[in-house]
Symmetry: C3
Subunit: 461 residues, 3 copies
């Protein structure tokens, strides 16, 4: 042991000196934050700056030199300046030849320039080895160490060795580099941090719109109608009763909208007799946001579940229950068990529970880590088979809940159908069409078309 | 800025031409889908085909040439033909020398051939650089853009550079390449898309079998017995009451079955005095599906929780409650609070809630992304310590629920024990044996054996 | 087909012989487990050992030779011996020159030595190509095949080619290699398996302490006070009633503690007029465990939700409800619906449900796989915007629940405030300060500071 320890002591300083010097061009906010972090992780840092005077802003242990001097001290140069000023680098082309230039810039809006900043840099300095990276990390996160979301650093570049050097630095800073291939990927990497849930925009706005519509529909039928005709103030229905009518209807409608485009696509393919002509644009976009629609439907279903379970705790429900019992007790009569209503009540609850259970299962397989660990066949099994099972169970849940209420004229206040009847429109349409599509005489040609067969190969294209 | 813009304009066409030409052999469904996608992503595509006439089927912007001509135009050739026809490539061996051949084929069943298609291709054309890839992606998903499950493209090959070239294309198509090492991995990659939840088969069938058994057991005791002896129709118990007896029993039994093999393994190791002899096959298989058994148990526990919470909303329960209250009111008497039953009721509910809470915690750590972010020590802590805590709490929940019902002769209809007593058999066995194994006189030799010590080193092996 | 089959037969043995021989130094537990697994996966294994006699311990198909002989047979040597004995390798330096040495060692405690074992090995044998790996895998998991947690093998090393060779073996064993860069990463890799939820320690202990305090506070007010003044035994409140008071208070307090450090940091930055001076240590540490605090708060909120929903099933609650109804029935009076209490009850329930809903949403985005698939902007949106929305909704839920109870002297048993008032302290403080910080006159300088502006640039540093 003793021999080892003395050995280690001798070797230790050697070890800590191993990190290669990194040069940073630009002393802006991100340049300083990155420099701070690199010094913390043991990298000697040298700044390249027009003026070497503003030394109190940049990290204590960093050197500040002119651009040319700084570039000569390091093999890796981080370009922490804005794209508009890239052309000042052209005079340095000779010094930068063979150096690894790391482009960390971001734009202010999507696809601001025809080519990415990194490709532009590579064109300005053809002798340098340009690598894109670090642009998805925030200066604040680097400085505070709160790197939860931005652990992943996308890196791309045409020079493998240069990319490896940058990826080593990324790892040394405690981040996870993700190789995105050649410099052509830079455009996408630069667009990435500018996005705010782009796939969610349409589904969210659609849901908000539909929710508002159904909410006012219920408000009119349950609160205003009662107030006008029965002079009763049920305004507190706004808090739970109405949301608990809107949520299931939204869940069912959105779940139907998830499976509707698939059904439409099948009809279009059957009609056209080929799968090689493109779908209309709106259908393509609709198909791409099915996952989001499904997850929002699941959120509404969950809210519906909790709103329902919370029922017996509500002051209003407890009052109504006790009124019912007291009136029975005062009339000195006890009602016998109504087996039919017990059957109805239990089966619609059971259908709802099972439907929600499978819905949650399908939702769990939408988690990135789960869907990544299943293959295509398994994913289709869950999303298609279990998904349709969910749709069937939830539709049945609503139908049984309605019972024979459909035929009752009392269900049509102001000649308007009850809201749950509206909620059944989309899912029932989907299920009926899907049922037709399963028939062998329809399914067989559809399967052939999907395997590449064409009815009129001459006319297609 | 102006200088830059003009610069960019001059350079832009240059950029978009950067993608290297890709050749595709075969104009089948997948070959066409892949070609379409590649053209979309900016790759010039040339098809190699026996007949150059069927041009209306393949993408508009692609060229169609003979195999030899097409191969000469590109460094990367995608072999979109079936394994049976690979031998027609042998005459082209000279042209294909040094080219990157991408084998994208799949088989119809697991381990159909003694070696993988990619290895077979490499043996046919020793001069070519064969890379396996793209076989996990579906043609439909490529065309529709719905690439949720199949984002990951497994790639393997013996030539690093060739693999990098293919991985760059994968990335350019918006997919995630996963390097699986040398071409030896091709067999596994080819088997991957043929699987349908192989680890889940046994647990699912076991659960279905047990569920059916418990369901009929309950049906006999709760519905048929009542109908025969009390002439009452409780058939609606099928919807909620019986499922809510089957689910907890299934959850408890399956949770016990998760920990039973570990206990059996310890007994076998103690008996044999070594850890170096293999367990019986059934035990090995059992141990490998513990995670699946546990997750199914969690599903049953969740259903039990919801079925229980839904209770007060059920028509039958509301009827029963009001009957109880009315009969008290009519008899003009109020019962005082029974503290013992309050204690029993509250504590079995609390035990159940806590047990379910820890069960969900253990379930969350089974998510791939969570279990990947903990180390081995942490994973064992959660799965073993928290798992046993869950088992203890859930068993206690059932025991307290039973209360002193065990001793009541009314609990044994037709001399059969109530179902929750059956559910206690497996977990109680596990807990008793585990309790014995914790004793120092048993734990010490077991720990030694697990660290590699052997009782009779001479006789083993 | 026939030609192919005969071809395959001739080529098959060639294929299975492809794996290169691997040498293992050391016949301890892990060396043997790794050897077993490698032989299973088709690698010829040769052991290097001081004594070649103990052959009954090691796998049947492995060869055992002296260290020097064994090393000469393979290009990759796995060093399965402890760091203390590394110096016996120095005499073999010449034979090991150019070989790939895989350091798989672990230490007994964090940062036991000044440099990592792998770096120490590389210093002892400068001619060898040292790769760190396999240390995160457990011998037991390797042998049993239960590799759930330890699928990931961190690999690092200075020689790219050597690293690739080791990563290929890792993949062949069915594990996932993760390249961690140069050998400098070895220290961290060696520390990794020794950790037991290091980030969770402080939040868990804080929660346990606070929970104990609140529990006894409730015990005194609800059980002991009632027993002393009303001679009633409500000891069964310990099971559900008191936990259901402690859980929401804990959830609310911890959720407040998640957002308190951000507010404190803003105040400090405003006061100092710069973001470039470091925060006090306690604040830094606090900020780094916000995610953990938030998840524990979510756990308490979930327990609160279940404890509340379980209410109507409790024996005590059912007794209390029926007493209320019976006394009304016996007095022959029916109470009219109290719209105000219906409003209060429904709105505090609705606020709680919405708050919990958003809380769960924020929790889901904390899952590693979800937070990895969002960018920094999206993550901040969810964690900050949705997080504050959750805090506002939950605080409002508690305030409405309290109603005008604050002003009621009965709420102050023994002059102590009710527990939910204590729970409001932290979240209300955070919300009030945050509200002030949003004012333009405060927000504007804060934003400037966070973008790098400094009030007194001369005096800073």
């Amino acid at each position: 042991m003793n021999t080892n320890s003395s050995n280690m002591m001798a070797l230790a300083p050697n070890t800590s000196n191993k990190r290669e010097t990194v040069c940073i061009f630009g002393t802006g906010d991100f340049g300083r934050a990155l420099g701070h972090k690199m010094i913390q992780c043991g990298y000697p840092v040298v700044y390249g700056s027009r003026s070497t005077q503003i030394s109190n802003m940049i990290p204590k242990d960093a050197e500040v030199l002119s651009h040319a001097e700084a570039a000569q001290k390091a093999a890796i140069i981080i370009i922490a300046i804005q794209r508009q000023h890239y052309n000042f680098l052209t005079p340095l082309a000779e010094i930068l030849r063979g150096k690894v230039l790391v482009d960390i810039s971001n734009n202010l809006k999507l696809n601001q320039y025809p080519e990415s900043n990194a490709e532009y840099l590579a064109q300005l300095l053809p002798g340098a080895r340009v690598v894109k990276g670090f642009n998805t990390v925030s200066a604040w996160a680097l400085q505070s160490g709160a790197l939860d979301a931005s652990r992943q650093v996308f890196v791309c570049g045409d020079d493998m060795e240069a990319k490896q050097m940058v990826m080593n630095i990324v790892r040394a800073l405690g981040l996870t580099p993700l190789d995105q291939g050649s410099l052509l990927a830079a455009q996408e990497i630069e667009n990435y941090p500018l996005q705010l849930f782009p796939m969610w925009k349409f589904p969210v706005f659609l849901s908000l719109g539909l929710t508002a519509f159904f909410f006012f529909y219920c408000l009119v039928l349950d609160v205003i109608y009662t107030y006008v005709y029965e002079k009763q103030d049920f305004s507190f229905f706004i808090a739970i009763t109405i949301p608990n009518q809107v949520c299931p209807v939204m869940a069912l409608t959105l779940l139907g909208l998830v499976y509707l485009p698939g059904v439409l696509a099948a009809i279009i393919q059957l009609y056209r007799g080929t799968k090689y002509s493109r779908f209309p644009d709106w259908l393509d976009k609709w198909m791409l946001c099915r996952k989001q629609l499904g997850l929002i439907a699941l959120a509404f279903a969950s809210l519906h579940a909790v709103f329902t379970l919370v029922g017996p705790i509500r002051s209003f429900v407890r009052w109504r229950t006790s009124q019912g019992i007291i009136s029975q007790a005062l009339n000195n009569k006890t009602e016998p068990l109504d087996t039919t209503s017990a059957w109805l009540s239990d089966s619609y609850l059971a259908l709802g529970i099972l439907g929600f259970f499978f819905f949650v299962l399908v939702g769990i397989t939408s988690l990135p880590s789960v869907s990544n660990s299943v293959n295509w066949r398994e994913f289709r099994f869950v999303q298609s088979k279990l998904g349709y099972l969910t749709l069937i169970l939830c539709t049945a849940h609503t139908l049984v809940y309605g019972g024979n209420w459909f035929l009752n004229p009392l269900a049509y206040k102001w000649y308007l159908p009850n809201i749950y009847m509206l909620g059944l429109v989309v899912p029932c349409t989907v299920l009926v069409v899907k049922f037709v599509l399963i028939f062998p005489c329809v399914d067989k040609p559809l399967t052939q078309i999907r395997q590449g067969w064409e009815r009129n190969p001459k006319h297609s294209e």
